[in-house]
């Protein structure tokens, strides 16, 4: 099994599937409320001018989160699970 990657390491335009969310408490709740759940497909659509925060696309909408928050969202390549 490859070392778990987080959303932080995705390049702009790269897609992935969410594997696990390791955040708990308020951040964890907030991430889930926004629809970031295991199985969801995400694509990095942009980064702010200072490389942080990052903008990601989920089905039908765009979210932004900071890199250190993206670290809690572990991903796998989209084809790995299909």
């Amino acid at each position: 099994m490859p070392t778990p990657r987080s959303i932080r390491h995705l390049k702009v335009g790269e897609k992935a599937q969410i594997d696990r969310i390791t955040a708990e408490g308020e951040l964890g709740r907030r991430i889930r409320d926004m629809g970031l759940v295991p199985g969801a497909e995400v694509e990095v659509v942009g980064r702010a001018p200072l490389k942080d925060p990052v903008a990601i696309r989920l089905k039908g909408f765009t979210l932004s989160l900071r890199n250190n928050e993206a670290d809690f969202i572990l991903i796998s390549p989209p084809e790995a699970q299909s």
Binding site: M34, A40, P49, A55, T62, S64
Partner: protein, 767 residues
């Protein structure tokens, strides 16, 4: 006719406000929920033969208890038990939006689902089978395009119909939470049912679920209602949590969320949502974002947009502002003409009309700036500004969203800190909010502007625009530095998550913009207007009482009577040209000499001379006028504010301020624009108009104030205590007068230290 309460729920950016406006139009009331700074909007609408009282709940993604908005929404639902709940969902992002709908259904509310933005969803190539969705969820579904009013009437009728049908009964929906949670949930539900724990408010299974999710509010209520059962429930929930952690490395809340999304996915799969075969079209939004959030172009365009907002506000806002100011000036004159000289007239003209007029004069500017900000918000660009600035702001302990309160407060010179402080509500974290609220008043608000225009024209006549710009930048720099200071001392703590939606760009509607603008402007008028009325009266009193001693007044009156007599004699003489002019009276001058020099040097104007034109009618009238001004200056000097100004001089001289400036700065606590008119009176110039500061500028130049004193004064005015209406807003928004007191003292001390440093350094360098 039956009447029902209908709550409007939905995610932020789902078009909830647009729908609310479309439903209720102008008949809405805006206020706050008691004790909390979350906005409450209530409006009425007729649907068929029923009357609906529509309550707009705050936009939430969820019904947990972690933000004020969510608690307000949840408490409203369980306490008020609205007969119907309309959940507005963005049809383009159904999956995420249904997360709230499912929670509403679990709570048992009679839900009507409003599928909003159907037009955009269709453009994205999405098709939604709303009949099928309605069947699967077991609730009415209405397709909407709230922006143009499509489906709005139908939605109202559906809500009324559901309210009539359900007759206030709640039917909670059950979702399976899998083999790890379901048995525990069932066990806990049975216990809760048998003891009726909190069941008057919530469904039993819902309470059990909240225990598993670790909901603090419910846990607390449970402890109060039945401590024994509550501790059993908490222990059981802990057991489940421990088990999950040991076996799956997860925790109950995550499992609950995952199963809810699983439930939603299963509903949507059965042919409810189909996508066109066009493949994944890059939405127009993404293309715009490629440019607007580009790493080089983005910030440049952002600065351009902010500059444009500033330009539009000022070029367009100037005219109505002048009209309003002219109107209040006319009102003041009318009252002045209609009432006899005395305290009542002074209170009306100098206290109330001047004070309230000062605030109302800014209404056109405030309206314009709110209109433009509403445009930036509704179009979706505001979220991008926060997105681009977050990294920078985080360094200073702020949040990307802090930029809006800063801009409204005058980050683009000319805002107002009162609505700016109110705008900080968009920030979720209390810590970043307090830092934003405390530092927003450092910006160059619209009331500081005329003062800076005056001072820069005196001290930097060649480089006025640059000096103004430098003041705006200094405001930003100080706001950021102080917020860093505050966040690393008084309000320490981690930054809040920046998990924020970037809504797709859309063209705002005129109606939406109009309503947003009006709501905020009205709040500004109400808050600033009522407070400033009270404070203008207090400050007027401080500047009027105790007044000059009777001897002085008598001396002035004697002089005035004398000149008046001469004028009358001259006028009579002009009627009869051969009559001789009366002799000038030297006593008056001596009288003036004995007065304190603080009284503005009446001697200069009253010096007798043998020259013939000294006794011409014009000269005498001018003399009378000067005498009046000198008397006003003398009165100001002997008033409470004047005495404070004089008492402060030994301290304030470190920053280069004399007693006259001090009085003006004391007056500036009521409202910064008072500084100019007070300076005018203190320098015995009479009233000085904000718009026409030339005489005061000449006077200041003639007084030979040094550049360092002027710079120190400008920095002091930029930074010292926020004006009183802002202080009140700070107290209300933070919920603690402690922060108001902090803002007054901390800012004044900081401003004074900085101004002193500038003045002392400047004096050393240039002498």
């Amino acid at each position: 006719m039956s009447s029902y309460t209908v709550a409007l729920a939905g995610n932020p950016n789902s078009g909830k406000s647009t729908l609310f406006n479309a439903l209720t139009g102008a008949r809405a009331h805006v206020g706050n929920y008691p004790g909390i700074t979350v906005e409450k909007k209530v409006g009425q609408v007729r649907a068929g033969d029923a009357m609906l009282e529509v309550v707009d709940l705050p936009g939430t993604y969820s019904l947990t208890a972690y933000s004020a908005e969510e608690l307000v929404a949840r408490d409203f639902l369980v306490d008020e038990r609205p007969q119907a709940v309309v959940d507005v969902v963005n049809a383009g992002a159904l999956e995420r939006n249904l997360y709230l709908a499912v929670q509403l259904l679990e709570l048992g509310c009679p839900v009507v689902l409003g599928l909003n933005m159907m037009d955009e969803a269709r453009k994205m190539g999405l098709r939604v089978d709303s009949k099928r969705l309605s069947k699967l969820l077991g609730c009415p579904v209405v397709e909407l395009v709230a922006r143009v009013g499509m489906g709005v009437g139908e939605l109202g009728r559906a809500a009324a119909g559901l309210a009539a049908e359900r007759q206030g009964s709640w039917k909670p929906m059950d979702i399976s939470y899998g083999p790890d949670l379901d048995p525990a949930l069932a066990e806990m539900t049975t216990k809760i049912m048998s003891k009726s724990l909190l069941t008057a408010r919530y469904p039993a299974r819902w309470v059990a679920l909240k225990y598993l999710e670790g909901d603090d509010q419910v846990k607390e209520q449970g402890r109060l209602a039945d401590p024994e059962l509550a501790s059993w429930l908490e222990a059981r929930a802990q057991e489940v949590a421990d088990h999950l952690r040991a076996t799956l490395g997860t925790y109950p809340e995550a499992v609950v969320a995952d199963y809810r999304y699983g439930f939603i996915a299963s509903i949507l799969k059965g042919g409810v949502v189909t996508r066109d075969d066009l493949g994944e079209r890059i939405a127009v939004s993404d293309k715009i974002d490629l440019v607007l959030t580009h790493k080089l172009l983005g910030p440049i365009l952002m600065l351009g947009v902010l500059y444009l907002v500033y330009q539009i506000t000022f070029t367009l806002g100037k005219f109505p502002m002048e009209w309003l100011q002219a109107f209040f000036a006319w009102g003041g004159k009318a009252v002045e003409a209609g009432l006899p000289d005395g305290l009542l007239r002074s209170l009306l003209v100098d206290g109330i009309i001047a004070g309230v007029g000062g605030v109302m004069g800014f209404v056109p500017l405030v309206m314009l700036i709110f209109l433009l900000i509403a445009f930036l918000e509704d179009s979706g660009y505001m979220a991008r500004i926060a997105y681009m600035l977050d990294r920078v702001f985080r360094i200073f302990g702020l949040h990307g969203c802090s930029v809006m309160p800063f801009i409204i407060s005058g980050g683009i010179a000319g805002g107002c800190a009162v609505p700016g402080v109110m705008a900080s509500r968009t920030l979720r974290s209390p810590k970043e909010r307090i830092a934003t609220i405390l530092t927003a008043p450092f910006m160059t608000c619209g009331a500081k502007l005329p003062v800076f225009i005056l001072l820069t024209s005196v001290f930097f006549p060649e480089k006025q625009a640059q000096a103004m710009f430098a003041m705006t930048l200094l405001g930003w720099a100080m706001a950021l530095c102080v917020s860093w200071l505050v966040r690393s001392t008084v309000v320490k703590g981690e930054s809040t998550p920046f998990v924020m939606e970037l809504p797709p760009y859309r063209l705002p509607t005129w109606r939406g913009l109009g309503i947003h603008t009006w709501e905020r402007t009205w709040q500004y008028i109400k808050k600033a207007g009522s407070m400033i009325l009270a404070v203008s009266i207090v400050v007027w009193a401080a500047m009027t009482f105790p007044g000059p001693s009777e001897d002085k007044t008598a001396a002035f009156e004697a002089q005035k009577a004398e000149i008046t007599a001469k004028i009358e004699a001259l006028e009579a003489a002009e009627a009869k040209p051969e009559a001789p002019a009366s002799e000038p009276e030297p006593d008056a001058a001596k009288d003036g000499n004995t007065k304190q020099e603080m009284a503005g040097d009446p001697e200069k104007t009253a010096t007798p001379s043998a020259e013939a034109d000294e006794n011409s009618l014009e000269a005498l009238k001018a003399k009378l006028e000067d005498l009046n001004k000198a008397q006003a200056a003398g009165a100001l000097a002997s008033s409470l504010a004047g005495r404070m100004g004089i008492a402060l001089e030994p301290v304030s001289k470190w920053a280069g301020f004399d007693w006259r400036t001090n009085i003006a700065l004391v007056g500036g606590f009521a409202a910064k624009e008072v500084i100019i008119s007070t300076l005018g009176t203190a320098y015995s110039l009479g009233k000085v108009d904000k718009e026409d500061t030339a005489p005061l500028a000449e006077m200041l130049s003639a007084e030979g104030l040094s550049i360092s004193a002027g710079l120190a004064l400008m920095v002091f005015i930029l930074l010292y205590s926020p004006c009183f209406p802002t202080v009140v807003a700070i107290g209300k928004e933070t919920g603690s007068w402690k922060w108001s007191a902090f803002a007054i003292t901390f800012n004044t001390v900081l401003a004074f230290l900085l101004a002193s440093a500038i003045f002392q350094a400047g004096t050393k360098l240039f002498h």
